[in-house]
């Protein structure tokens, strides 16, 4: 599953590793016991002398039970920890403390790059607008110059759909809203999504680090033509 984003891939690989570890323990244990402790004759022995109307004798071991409370707990604390920093990167704040600085001056470039940890860093970002409506997207490049951001139309399976052309190496902050009902911007190429709500503004970082093109989809069910609410995004 090569490459959604370096950030996504790093977490994914960690999680797959831990899943395999946990899965190996659970399934190894399950298969071993279901083979080794099977009944030979298909009937008894009645190990704990189960008897109708008698609460069976206790079978527990406090140490074991505490062990498999504490150990998974440590594991999830670790998993939360490795998921924490990427959380700040995906929803970075603006300004000097964030990953993408402040808004670019005219003619300035974001100079986005991926650092050693897989986070996208930029010196500044560009504003653009996305508006959802039943059942099409509308892009607004505001006052950005043509080479940084331009809108147009593309043919997707015989239908004319909006197209947004972005420039490689630039980072964009989309300011989004909806005119009618809830939609969601889903950009598989950037590995991100965020809802757009009527009467509310949401924001989405779109770091265009590499040349790519993909189909942007609506990921929140919004009525009849929901499946056809697409747009073409090109990074070049």
């Amino acid at each position: 599953m090569a490459g959604v984003t370096p950030l996504y891939d790093a977490i994914w690989n960690d999680y797959i590793l831990w899943s395999l570890f946990v899965g190996a323990i659970a399934f190894g244990w399950l298969y071993h016991h279901s083979y080794f402790y099977r009944s030979e004759d298909g009937e008894s022995p009645n190990i704990d002398n189960l008897e109708v109307g008698v609460f069976p004798k206790d079978y527990d071991n406090l140490r074991l039970e505490v062990a498999w409370t504490i150990l998974p707990f440590i594991l999830i604390v670790w998993l939360t920890y490795i998921s924490w920093a990427p959380l700040d990167a995906v929803w970075s704040e603006t300004g000097p403390d964030g990953y993408h600085g402040s808004e670019c001056q005219e003619g300035e470039s974001s100079e986005s790059y991926i650092d050693a940890d897989g986070y996208v860093r930029s010196s500044c970002y560009h504003d653009l607008g996305i508006t959802g409506q039943q059942w099409f997207w509308e892009f607004d490049c505001y006052e950005l110059s043509e080479d940084i951001c331009s809108t147009g139309y593309a043919t997707v399976e015989g239908e004319l759909k909006p197209q947004l052309t972005l420039k490689t190496g630039e980072t964009y902050l989309a300011t989004m809203t909806s005119i009618d009902v809830t939609h969601a911007v889903k950009n598989p190429g950037f590995g991100i999504m965020e809802d757009v709500q009527p009467g509310q503004i949401t924001y989405l970082w779109m770091p265009a680090v590499e040349d790519t093109s993909f189909l942007m989809l609506c990921a929140e069910y919004c009525g009849d033509n929901h499946a056809y609410m697409t747009a073409q995004i090109i990074v070049e």
Partner: protein
């Protein structure tokens, strides 16, 4: 030759048609013009000019019926100056009422439209009359005035400027409803009066001779089921309903899968597709899973705690009978071709918008009834378990299935009111026009998400926790052992119940949540893994040193452990939000919740069917058919849902009528995604078909099955004490069974926490201070 004549004629005709459209605007110049209410005086310049101001005076704010009002239309500004050959003109249009002229400076084109005449084109204001209508509707006035510079000839309209004014006069009353169809009125009257008349006639006959009719004699077989308050009969009704809707929901899923078997398929229209996935979700959760659970809870809980029946048998009957009625309401829209199309989550504001089908109102109404049903069930089971346990059975001697029903009902009872409130708001928004979710009216669409998921997340645990109970029973009995860590099992279930209320934010990760809350929800969601892990490890440890007897229910239990563990692991990927923003709303989510809901709840309850069917019917199920059912279902199930993980990772999103494959023009899903979808669809049919084996098995065994003994599997709890099937009442109320305990500690002795409380409180035996 002929063809060129035809095309020449066509050109001529179209030229003529164009001329007919254009001519009136050109020739009517100084003499006034009609038909400009929408276009404006565009031959005097394409746009309205800001330097001209048109105004209407003399109109009231609200008119009285049929009253005559004097109206003056005028304008100021523009090139119109004294000394011009002409000064200007107007056109006034009113949506209702009648216009009338007072002098020759104005003329009527219709009762709704007036303009100046040739005589009146040398004025800047004109006087008219308007006679108000008697209907009471709001009337709209549109005025265009033209300020002219007086040049004549072909360029007579150049240099002129015009303006538009619009005003609305309010009607005196509400909008009058359109006339009803007299035939419909007549038909309704006939139907209502016939029904009333029949009821009265029947009642009179019945009063005349009350002994003449008795349900039990009229239709004894159906009466038994319609009027029963016996927990076993109601349990069977729930069970049959649950299985029936499992089939209905399954067929809907098959429709969805046929549509998705290849990209760009047009097997069903998107309108139907949207209804199918909405009703698939609603049916499976509310009309299949919940009734299946309620069926087993009804059957088994009173038997397990040694109670003759539930605490409120009539309430129990009401709980059930609300269900089929609710199901009818939910499906009403489908019968009329306009079923609910909102997704089972019914996100606002779409759910209240005008684009939705009419069936959404009925869908909401039906679910409100289900909320009522679940609340009553909650009251009933909580009371029963609290007060009707047999002598000798303390809280910590209850069988784990009873514990799971207690925890599930407590969760449901605390969470479902929020859902009920939300549904009532949606219903009111849709029917009487309140604005809870209407953004324009100040409503809040996110409120619905909060109310829904505050209920919705505990709800998914409500349907999985009873399956935990089943698995605990089956695995202990099959391994011929006591369950490992009984108390930690109970605490784990209670823990899941508690945590379920604080994790629902993960459904709203992408809705613009605050970063702090995102982190908190991420942590609490991860926490769910701890109690769930305890349960899985305890089950595995229960098998240790046991002697596992392989029967069909044992196979389903082991199958449950495999699929539920996989579903649990894939669930851990969502709280990690940098990953979730890619996986959210994709087939990875679909795969995950089908692994826990089908691989968990449904597999768990298949185990329950094989485990308790002999108790419920007195007949053993066919083991060979059972094993065949397990093998075919387990394999096709995994072939059905496992590939969905992969599709989700490459970005296939859920709830869409089609999906896009990469072509020369677009970058979307890889080409193999279509092949995998085909495999999934085929597996879906196999999975559906394999479950028919269960139905065949149940019917066949009911007719020709071996007679079941009281305790075929060697379980310990009270249900195995009664005969198969159990008598009614299930236990003699005057001679309740007494639970013995194989452990040395005295039953009902308080635990450490209880002892601490006892020390804190004044003992009953201690002498009271005031008494000496």
């Amino acid at each position: 030759m002929e063809r060129s004549t035809v095309s020449r004629r066509l050109v001529l005709i179209s030229l003529l048609a164009m001329a007919m459209i254009v001519v009136p605007a050109v020739t009517s110049l100084p003499s006034g013009i009609s038909g400009v209410k929408d276009t404006g005086c565009n031959c005097h310049g394409t746009e309205a000019s800001p330097s001209v101001t048109a105004s209407i005076s003399g109109l009231p704010e609200t008119y009285n019926a049929s009253e005559t009002y004097a109206v003056t239309v005028s304008f100021t500004g523009g090139p119109s100056t004294d000394g011009n050959a002409n000064l200007g003109g107007f056109n006034l249009w009113a949506s209702d009422g009648t216009l009338a002229t007072l002098d020759s400076s104005a003329q009527l084109w219709s009762p709704n439209e007036a303009s100046h005449t040739t005589e009146g084109n040398d004025q800047r204001s004109w006087n008219l009359e308007w006679i108000a209508p008697d209907s009471g509707v709001d009337v709209e006035f549109i005025l265009h005035t033209n300020s002219v510079n007086g040049n004549e000839g072909d360029s007579g309209s150049s240099g002129d400027e015009w303006d538009r004014a619009q005003t609305t006069v309010l009607g005196f009353g509400p909008n009058v409803l359109p006339d009803a169809d007299p035939f419909k009125v007549l038909a309704t009257l006939i139907i209502i009066s016939t029904v009333l008349l029949s009821i009265i006639v029947l009642y009179v006959f019945y009063r005349n001779n009350p002994d003449g009719f008795e349900w039990a004699r009229f239709a004894p077989w159906i009466t038994e089921w319609l009027t029963s308050t016996d927990h076993k009969k109601i349990g069977t009704l729930y069970f049959v309903q649950g299985l029936f809707f499992l089939g209905v929901g399954g067929i809907m899923a098959l429709m969805i899968r046929v549509q998705l078997s290849s990209p760009g398929n047009d097997f069903i229209t998107q309108e139907y597709y949207n209804q199918f996935f909405t009703l698939h979700g609603t049916t499976m959760i509310f009309l299949a899973a919940m009734p299946l659970i309620a069926g087993f809870a009804n059957w088994i809980v009173p038997l397990q705690i040694g109670a003759p029946d539930l605490a409120f048998p009539r309430l129990n009957a009401l709980s059930f009978w609300l269900q089929p009625v609710a199901a009818l309401l939910i499906f009403t829209g489908v019968f009329s071709g306009a079923g609910a199309d909102t997704g089972w989550t019914g996100y606002a504001p779409y759910v209240v918008s005008e684009n939705t089908h009419a069936g959404v109102s009925m869908w909401a109404a039906g679910q409100i009834m289900l909320v009522a049903s679940s609340t009553l069930t909650g009251i009933n089971f909580l009371t029963t378990i609290a007060v009707m346990r047999s002598p000798g059975m303390g809280w910590f001697q209850m069988p784990l299935f009873t514990w799971s029903i207690l925890v599930a009902n407590l969760m449901l009872f605390l969470s479902i009111p929020a859902f009920g409130v939300g549904l009532i708001q949606v219903y009111l928004d849709r029917t009487i026009g309140t604005g809870f979710y209407d953004v324009a009216a100040g409503g809040d669409p996110l409120l619905w998400s909060h109310l829904f998921w505050y209920f919705g997340h505990p709800e998914v645990y409500v349907v999985i926790v009873p399956a935990f109970g089943v698995i605990s029973e089956v695995i202990a009995t099959s391994a011929r052992r006591s369950i490992f860590g009984y108390k930690s099992m109970v605490y784990a279930m209670a823990g899941i119940g508690l945590v379920s209320f604080i994790v629902y934010g993960h459904h709203m990760f992408t809705s613009g949540m605050s970063p702090t809350l995102r982190f908190v929800t991420m942590l609490t969601t991860m926490l769910v893994a701890v109690p769930t892990g305890i349960k899985i490890f305890n089950w595995l440890k229960t098998m240790h040193g046991g002697s596992l007897v392989y029967r069909t229910h044992t196979l389903w239990t082991l199958g449950f452990l495999v699929t539920f563990t996989l579903g649990g692991i894939s669930g851990m990927f969502f709280p990690s939000m940098a990953m979730d923003v890619h996986l959210h709303e994709t087939y990875f989510v679909v795969a995950h919740f089908h692994y826990v809901l089908v691989g968990g709840t449904v597999f768990g309850f298949f185990a329950a069917i094989y485990y308790w069917y002999p108790k419920m019917t007195g007949r053993m199920l066919d083991e060979r058919l059972g094993v065949l059912h397990f093998l075919t279902a387990f394999i096709s199930y995994n072939a059905l849902f496992w590939p969905m993980h992969r599709l989700g990772v490459v970005g296939m999103i859920r709830r869409t009528h089609t999906y896009y494959i990469t072509t020369d023009d677009i970058q979307a899903l890889p080409e193999w995604a279509a092949d995998w979808n085909m495999l999934i669809s085929m597996s879906a049919f196999l999975f559906f078909a394999s479950n028919l084996l269960l139905v065949v098995n149940m019917i066949k065994s009911l007719v020709r099955g071996e007679k079941a003994p009281a305790d075929p599997w060697g379980g310990w709890s009270f249900e195995w004490m009664t005969s198969s099937p159990p008598p009614t009442p299930s236990f003699d109320p005057h001679n309740l069974p007494m639970l013995k305990d194989a452990n040395e500690h005295v039953a009902n002795e308080p635990g450490r926490l209880g002892q601490m409380f006892r020390r804190l409180m004044v003992s009953d035996d201690a002498p009271e201070e005031g008494s000496h």
